[in-house]
């Protein structure tokens, strides 16, 4: 067990135009941990994720992965290093089949391009995400849930060491969410470190070891799920002051 965190986010600030979307956020993600990143809309979660994968530039602060500063790396270098991410709005390659989409991930990740290894990685990713039956169809021919799974399969085929998931549960129903939860657990079991941005609470509480909460670009909590969710600040952030006050009053009333 390495003591060095896999992902180290230090004092990260991201601005666009006049808006400061992320303000001095710091936290670590340890080897093999699953960390959830939550917060109300506009809190800066996706922006932070974009900053990590260098789709946004940092105004200040630093981001390191496995000890290397990745803040100004080109996306393809990050991919080769072992960082994969999914996108909130899935964008598979429209003119390639499911299998071919996954293949792109396998071919270009981590310097691998031997024929056999690629094929094996592709099949493994497809099997893990349950896309076997639809592997030869084009993305527009499969359901949204399948496309989300394709997004995951592509990321998996890259054999990442760190996986960034951006609202991968959005738009899925009850059963589908359950399947994705199981999938994420399986991925972690393979040794991958995962950072999950999510709105679906049930999923977050089910899979995360730790939860980081953002509000208005700032970190307001960073702890185990049970502690974070009963934290007054977090409740207030999500449900507003009146709800928090009512809850507090209720609690006081019970105590009496």
């Amino acid at each position: 067990m390495t003591t060095q965190p896999v992902l180290r986010i230090r004092d990260v600030t991201v601005r666009f135009g006049g808006v400061t979307a992320v303000k001095g956020v710091s936290f670590d993600v340890a080897q093999n941990e699953i960390v959830g990143l939550i917060g109300p809309n506009g809190a800066g979660k996706t922006t932070l994720l974009n900053a990590i994968s260098h789709l946004e530039t940092l105004a200040s602060g630093s981001i390191s992965c496995f000890g290397e500063r990745i803040s100004d790396w080109a996306p393809h270098r990050m991919a080769a290093f072992g960082i994969a991410r999914t996108f909130q709005v899935v964008q598979p390659f429209a003119n390639l089949t499911v299998r071919q989409n996954v293949r792109v991930g396998a071919m270009f990740a981590r310097g691998r391009h031997e024929h056999v290894r690629v094929a094996a990685a592709v099949e493994e990713a497809i099997e893990l995400t349950g896309l076997g039956a639809k592997a030869d169809l084009l993305p527009h021919q499969v359901t949204l849930a399948d496309r989300k799974r394709l997004e995951l399969a592509r990321a998996l085929a890259m054999q990442p060491r760190v996986l960034l998931l951006d609202e991968v549960m959005a738009g899925l129903n009850h059963t589908e969410i359950g399947k994705v939860i199981a999938l994420i657990r399986a991925i972690r079991d393979k040794g991958v470190t995962i950072l999950v941005v999510e709105h679906v609470m049930k999923a977050i509480t089910a899979i995360c070891d730790r939860i980081v909460v953002l509000q208005f670009g700032e970190k307001i909590a960073d702890d185990r799920p049970d502690r974070v969710l009963s934290d007054e600040k977090v409740v207030r952030a999500y449900l507003g002051d009146r709800y928090a006050a009512r809850q507090a009053a209720l609690a006081q009333g019970e105590a009496r």
């Binding site: 994968s53 789709l55 080109a74 996306p75 393809h76 991919a79 080769a80 994969a84 991410r85 996108f87 964008q91 598979p92 390659f93 429209a94 003119n95 390639l96 089949t97 071919q100 293949r103 792109v104 991930g105 071919m107 270009f108 990740a109 981590r110 391009h113 084009l138 021919q141 592509r154 890259m158």
Partner: protein
């Protein structure tokens, strides 16, 4: 590996027959047809060159004719300086590829329309440059290539025919190999989503530049052989934007991004063009224009896909 179906076997046989027929042309058909076919094969190469950068990478190099001219002049200068014809062809291809790599590095950062126009500007600029440099390039007077006196004209034309034929086969093989190779996947991915490709580890800049270099090498080689064929070249015809446009339309008619589409398109277009020229010299451009309009409006995706669907008898497109 998928087993070879009887249909597949039939197609392969047809293909082999075609190749054999083409190889026998100089003895079967007359000089007139050999010349027409040389032209068709040349356009096959140009169309395949375009196929690599446009069909696969999705970058509309409308001015790819620049490399045709560069190849032509590179060969011309090379021959004038003493290097033989056959040795000059790879030189011409290499020079074209080099220019593409150098110019492509900044230009391929441009998207869509901008890149298309930049390539047109490139064609015109290089043409002007060649004219103004003068000296060994012959400048505005054009360049006369040393005549091959060791062979009879017949033999020379035959040699040129076979070289074009070989180049056409080579370019098709290149495209075939590309479609399954790592570079091919990189290009197809970045064509659909450049950002997505980058996120998955594709070095898109290198892939695009490589594609353009390959495209340029093929186009340049075609230009080189053409230069030797013409024995006299000048900027106006070597750097003719019409070449790019015709190549585009052939690729369009045939179906871009496919392996054989450009060949079909080149054959169809050039045959049609030649037949009309000989009958209706006056209205040549008019009919050409009408043909282009009809094709674009009626068959925006080329004839290869519908043909293929007919042949395979099933719905849905294969990637």
């Amino acid at each position: 590996m998928t087993p070879i179906s009887p249909r597949g076997l039939l197609l392969a046989l047809a293909g082999a027959l075609c190749l054999a027929a083409l190889a026998a042309v100089p003895w079967l058909a007359g000089n007139y047809w050999m010349r027409i076919l040389t032209s068709i094969l040349m356009y096959c190469v140009v169309a395949q060159g375009l196929n690599v950068i446009v069909g696969f990478a999705g970058y509309h190099a409308f001015g790819n004719a620049a490399f045709f001219g560069i190849g032509a002049y590179a060969l011309g200068v090379s021959e004038v300086l003493g290097l033989g014809f056959l040795a000059s062809i790879p030189v011409a291809a290499a020079v074209s590829a080099l220019v593409a790599a150098l110019v492509g590095w900044p230009l391929l950062r441009l998207r869509g329309h901008y890149f298309a126009i930049a390539t047109v500007a490139l064609t015109m600029a290089v043409g002007e440059l060649v004219t103004n440099i003068g000296g060994v390039t012959g400048g505005a007077q054009g360049l006369a290539l040393p005549l091959d006196t060791s062979q009879s004209p017949e033999q020379v034309y035959r040699q040129i025919y076979f070289l074009m034929f070989g180049l056409a086969v080579l370019s098709t093989l290149a495209v075939w190999h590309l479609s399954n190779s790592r570079l091919g996947y990189a290009l197809r991915a970045l064509k659909d989503s450049e950002r997505g490709a980058m996120a998955m580890g594709v070095d898109t800049r290198r892939a695009k530049v490589a594609a353009w270099a390959i495209s340029a090498a093929l186009t340049g080689a075609a230009g080189a052989i053409w230069a030797h064929w013409m024995t006299f070249i000048e900027v106006g015809s070597a750097f003719d934007i019409t070449l790019s446009v015709k190549g585009y339309i052939m690729m369009l008619i045939g179906g871009m991004g496919t392996i054989f589409g450009p060949l079909l398109g080149a054959a169809f277009f050039e045959l049609f063009s030649t037949l009309i020229w000989s009958r209706f010299t006056e209205v040549h451009n008019l009919v050409l224009g009408i043909l282009v309009c009809v094709v674009v409006l009626a068959l925006p995706f080329g004839i290869w896909q519908p043909l293929r669907r007919l042949w395979h008898g099933r719905q849905g497109s294969r990637a």
